[in-house]
């Protein structure tokens, strides 16, 4: 498809938009995965060590 003498500007516009949007999507997706992993790890640690009530029972 012939985009005329200013094709580079047209392609650059769509390219910049695609880059920013893909970057945003990646940031959101990877950020969500990292946070879910962190939360799961903390909850696993909490389940392994027992909650506060268990600790008090062991001390008594």
């Amino acid at each position: 498809m012939d985009l005329g003498p200013y094709a580079a500007y047209i392609v650059a516009s769509y390219g910049v938009a695609a880059l920013v949007l893909l970057g945003a999507a990646g940031w959101l997706y990877l950020g969500g995965r990292r946070l879910a992993r962190e939360l799961a790890e903390i909850e696993r640690r909490g389940a392994r060590s027992g909650n506060g009530a268990d600790l008090h029972e062991r001390e008594n």
Binding site: Y6, Y9, L21, L28
Partner: protein, 257 residues
């Protein structure tokens, strides 16, 4: 009356973060799929079903990217302002989450509008940039987005950061009508607004509206995901604080014998 009350009650339920996480997880794939469909169709219309402009030639195709993001840059800020109002006045549980999640997205969309506008301006006006009212006011909007993000990040006290950011967001709303009417109030190089009812030929209006709808739905998908991430981040922070409190040694010591 009863139906409206029950709908309001249903919306109130969504204000619960756990309910929001559940509902948004179910809805998000569909919203993302709808955005993808609209954008694929929109790009098809933009490149294969609309003619070149008699003045601008093929560069009119930049309009189908630039104008939707210009619209979105204003719409996202309006959402941040509404969320900030909801947070300050009604203490809505998800309002601050919404405002915080939207700011980086609004900044990104405004950057796209500015960059594509510059790339459109060079062939049209012979320059990438002029300090006219429209371009300058949108650049100020971009700086305002960055200011919201920076203010939020600069304060350790998240509750204080939320309040100050909300106040700044509400003050910044004054910029929106300035941007909107800048092409009418001042002599600007930028053309008058491209509206839904403007004298835009249907062959140009259809791709423009489809692309605008696609990018708007895409923003909804991004915003839902960003809100989910923010809720998770707050859960992680609370869980870490609870973990630290549990592992702190007790202050009670038995006296030595």
């Amino acid at each position: 009356m009863l139906a409206r009350f029950s709908m309001f009650a249903r919306l109130q339920k969504l204000a619960n973060p756990s309910v929001f996480m559940r509902v948004s997880a179910a809805v998000l794939p569909w919203v993302a799929a709808l955005a993808a469909l609209l954008l694929v169709y929109g790009v098809h219309l933009a490149f294969f079903a609309s003619p070149p402009d008699y003045q601008q030639g093929e560069t009119v195709r930049i309009m189908y990217i630039h104008v939707p993001f210009a619209w979105l840059s204003l719409m996202v800020y309006a959402l941040i302002a509404a969320s900030s109002f909801g947070f300050l006045v009604f203490r809505h549980p998800l309002a601050d989450v919404s405002a915080k999640a939207a700011a980086p997205l609004g900044a990104a969309f405004t950057a796209i509008a500015l960059i594509t506008g510059s790339l459109w301006g060079k062939p049209m006006w012979g320059t990438y940039w002029v300090w006219d009212a429209r371009l300058t006011s949108v650049l100020m909007l971009f700086f305002l987005y960055l200011g919201l993000i920076a203010l939020r990040s600069s304060l350790e006290d998240e509750a204080l950061a939320a309040k100050l950011t909300a106040v700044l967001a509400l003050l910044g709303v004054a910029l929106l009508p300035v941007i909107k009417f800048s092409v009418e109030w001042w002599n600007t190089l930028h053309q008058p607004s491209t509206g839904f009812t403007a004298t835009v030929h249907p062959s140009f209006r259809a791709p423009l509206l489809v692309m605008a709808a696609g990018f708007t739905v895409l923003f909804v998908a991004f915003h839902l995901k960003a809100m989910q991430n923010e809720i998770l981040r707050r859960k992680v922070k609370s869980a870490l604080l609870a973990e630290a409190a549990r592992s702190e040694p007790s202050g009670f010591h038995l006296p030595a014998e």
